[in-house]
């Protein structure tokens, strides 16, 4: 039989996740329309605070955890909460960015079905690129000066670089379509320029054409 303090200690990251998901949903209702990333960050911080509070309180009242043990416990529960929060953020992001769900939505809006070409006319690579570009500019992941899109150091770029490293490490391949466009007017970037791109680790892809 476990005590109440032990149960709280075990479930502290789950309680944090509950605060994150309920808090985020509530904030989305209040801050409509276009709740954006800020509501998610605010809810994440609230959930993190609840996780840490419950962990430290339950550990102290249990009387078993002090000093290094308490630090280890906070580290373990902190990482557990971040993993849960990552899962929640991905779930939320499905509604924004998932191509599969967009295809289902397109088919739902066509009661008699669609020919493959009709689907591609409604939703294709160009449209995907367009909507992603708008989203990336709006969230300040890239800059648009009215004519050209220019990279800048951003969280998503760092994540993309990390995923590129993992892709190479685990699957032994690169992003398939990353390439430097050939432009007549402007010179192509040199290896030096590419090596000193904002993340310091971007390289021209050797991906398949």
């Amino acid at each position: 039989m476990i005590s109440f303090e032990e149960a709280v200690l075990i479930l502290a990251p789950v309680a944090g996740l509950a605060v994150l998901s309920c808090g985020h949903l509530a904030l989305c209702q209040i801050v409509r329309p276009r709740a954006g990333l800020r509501t998610l960050i605010a809810a994440f911080l609230a959930g993190f605070a609840v996780t840490l509070f419950l962990t430290t309180q339950a550990a102290r009242s249990g009387g078993q955890h002090e000093g290094a043990d308490l630090c280890g416990l906070v580290g373990l529960h902190g990482m557990t909460y971040v993993a849960f929060a990552y899962g929640y953020a991905n779930f939320y992001n499905l509604g924004i960015a998932s191509l599969r769900i967009r295809i289902l939505q397109e088919l739902l809006s066509a009661p008699h079905g669609l020919a493959q070409q009709e689907l591609l006319n409604r939703y294709n690579g160009k449209r995907i690129a367009q909507s992603r570009l708008e989203r990336l500019v709006q969230s300040h992941q890239i800059e648009f000066d009215g004519h050209r899109y220019v990279s800048q150091p951003s969280l998503l770029l760092r994540i993309a670089v990390l995923f590129r490293v993992l892709k190479r490490l685990i699957l032994r391949r690169d992003f398939q379509f990353v390439r430097v466009p050939v432009v007549d007017q402007a010179p192509a970037p040199t290896v030096h320029q590419v090596e000193h791109a904002p993340t310091d680790s971007i390289a021209v892809s050797g991906g398949r054409p």
Binding site: V14, T80, A83, G113, Q176, F177, H196, P198
Partner: protein
């Protein structure tokens, strides 16, 4: 501190096995294999942590410690399986970001980026996955939702309305 050490050791060892396995012979059903690998190693780790063969300073005898370790393992497994889908498939946003970054200070014009993503590779592949999962039917070039696909599409429609999200993708 001991549960944290077990947690980090489990995560490192499982990721190492995953990398070696996938580099040598990637499984056909990758998500199922990942769940099997992480689940199996989690059970082995929990058994090892309370085993009498484990030296006492590193042994977890308290149920509470073992349960906290198990919650960590569940959270990490789910998070990594989700992250892996982004490693396996090419995300259009990441493709655009990496391409723009590779052009450095010169940057890209819209037309260069719009041609980056071939319809067949992005939409076609996802469509095939939906057909294979039984969510979409294909009859003589005509696509329609199956009953299951209809249910999922309505669930996501409700989800979008609940959060006030625009049509995504």
């Amino acid at each position: 501190m001991v549960p944290l050490v077990w947690a980090l050791a489990w995560l490192t060892a499982t990721f190492a096995i995953h990398v070696v396995w996938w580099r040598n012979r990637p499984p056909r059903s990758q998500t199922v294999a990942l769940l099997g690998l992480f689940g199996g190693s989690a059970v082995a780790c929990l058994a090892g942590a309370q085993s009498s063969f484990t030296p006492v300073p590193g042994r977890l005898t308290d149920f509470s410690d073992l349960a906290q370790l198990a919650v960590f393992q569940v959270a990490m497994t789910l998070a990594y399986v989700e992250a892996y889908t982004a490693i396996e498939d090419d995300s259009p946003s990441m493709t655009i970001l990496l391409t723009v970054a590779a052009t450095g200070a010169r940057g890209c014009v819209r037309e260069e980026l719009q041609d980056l993503i071939p319809d067949e590779a992005i939409v076609g592949r996802r469509l095939q996955a939906l057909i294979a999962a039984g969510l979409v039917h294909l009859n003589e070039d005509r696509l329609s939702l199956s009953h299951r696909g209809m249910r999922w599409a309505r669930r996501f429609q409700t989800f979008r309305r609940l959060y006030g999200l625009p049509l995504g993708g």
